[in-house]
Subunit: 252 residues, 2 copies
DNA sequence: CGGCTACTTGAAGGATTTCAACGTAGGTGG
DNA sequence: CCACCTACGTTGAAATCCTTCAAGTAGCCG
């Protein structure tokens, strides 16, 4: 199936960063040989378990979360279609976080060694994957700023803006609207707040005319107003292209 | 100078993860050609600036920090001797965080391309560096849990335990004591608290007999008690050795 | 000694949490 | 087809943790 290469959100995402030859595309695509569907709330990776696999989400939303022994939980990142989890898993050995399906999920699973093979014989793809993890780290740093230094209102606004940009990149927005298929409790765990306070904050944003909500549909009515309220910098999300000199060097 | 290889905390740290040949050691060491000293409070990297260099701290403490436009600041990680900043800097292009010298600092600086060279012709070292960033990410995830879901007391305890383990690894502890050369304001920015509350929390830990402080000297009197108060898992800090099968494969 | 920086302490205020209850929608089984 | 159940959103009131403001102290360096 020739068209199937483009049906992988993962390959498409990597392709935004480096120009991929058909051969490289196929190589990446071959990682996603093993595809499965899991229902919402499935714990795909348990915190503390030995980890030997790498996962690529093809459809649906997941969350990586730190769990404390008394039940508190902090979501460190939402995992969207095209995102990769566990690139250096073979190096780490043990999962430091859980991975939970937030919605029903379609994921590809492949052994961590497959990534290492890539490191050995495809430096360009290796760097592209490394870049993926660099972006993850940048998002985590931004989350630290949110959790440590932003008010509840700022947290929610930043959360919505970041999600909007990420979804736009993978073509899952319609104008300034998108689907937010997660409960307020999940949002709370992502933002370090209580569900009740997330609720109140969302209601206030609505009554301030900044956003509109209808079921799982969210509309950012006043992008400028939202952006102005939180110094939002999307540099850390940007899909820059790989610097040309680097790409030339790696092509060899 | 033959002994100089061992004088690099950076090389020594990588050596804890993979067995290094003399040749590899030299190769790594050669990155640290350009060494300089900077006084405390120097801003080595400014947030938002284009970044073309990679830094290895040889002595002293630094901090990576997110700065908000109104002056709030969140330290995302403390950088200790042997730590590396900006491995994938060439990929990211722009600094998403500032890097500030907390104490006087001795750092080695080298062009990001030098790291890419490593990726091209030294897969084993490349993986070792990638592992470095994986560890950084794990620490950031742990920080997210701290900032989002832990109380002030838990934050401070976790902070001290983590620092203790990291310092122990690089041989900068004496029993359960170590030097903490940073002000309470820096601790506050690292933990998402106000300096005043950090102060009160530290005082309470002292009066509870969990720690002792004398100037910049800290002693963890009751390690078990401290660990029990915060479900501290050091798996994310652990210097596991690279999995043997992987190392064998990379040796070729 | 003066001036800086960091640490300490008290009191008041505020943002967020917790507890508890109610409403609603969708799904299931009788 | 209705009754029940569960999950989620909403709302109010009280409690709490932490921040802010303000002032005072201690140590260090020129």
């Amino acid at each position: 199936m020739p068209g199937s290469l483009d049906l992988s959100p993962f390959v498409r995402r990597v392709g935004l960063f480096v120009a991929l030859s058909d051969r490289e595309r196929r190589r990446l695509r071959s990682l996603e040989a093993q595809i499965r569907r899991v229902p919402a709330r499935t714990e795909l990776v348990r915190q503390g378990d030995p980890q030997r696999h790498c996962l690529a989400v093809r459809d649906g939303w997941a969350a990586r979360a730190k769990l404390l022994s008394d039940g508190r939980r902090q979501i460190t990142s939402l995992v969207l279609p095209g995102d990769l989890v566990g690139v250096f898993t073979d190096v780490a050995g043990v999962a430091d976080r859980a991975l939970v399906a937030v919605t029903e999920l379609e994921v590809a699973e492949f052994p961590a060694e497959a990534v290492m093979e890539l490191f050995l014989d495809q430096p360009k793809l290796a760097v592209a994957l490394a870049w993926t993890t660099a972006r993850d780290e940048a998002m985590l740093a931004e989350k630290a700023a949110t959790l440590g230094r932003r008010t509840a209102r700022e947290r929610v606004i930043h959360f919505l803006l970041e999600l909007y940009e990420r979804l736009r990149l993978i073509g899952r927005t319609a104008g300034t609207r998108f689907t937010l298929p997660i409960s307020q409790e999940v949002i709370a765990d992502a933002l370090g707040l209580s569900p009740v306070h997330v609720n109140r904050t969302l209601i206030r944003l609505r009554s301030d005319g900044l956003i509109r909500m209808d079921g799982a549909q969210v509309e950012l009515c006043d992008l400028a107003g939202l952006r102005g309220a939180v110094d939002f910098e999307d540099i850390y999300l940007l899909h820059r292209r790989m610097p040309p000199p680097l790409e030339r060097r790696l092509a060899a």
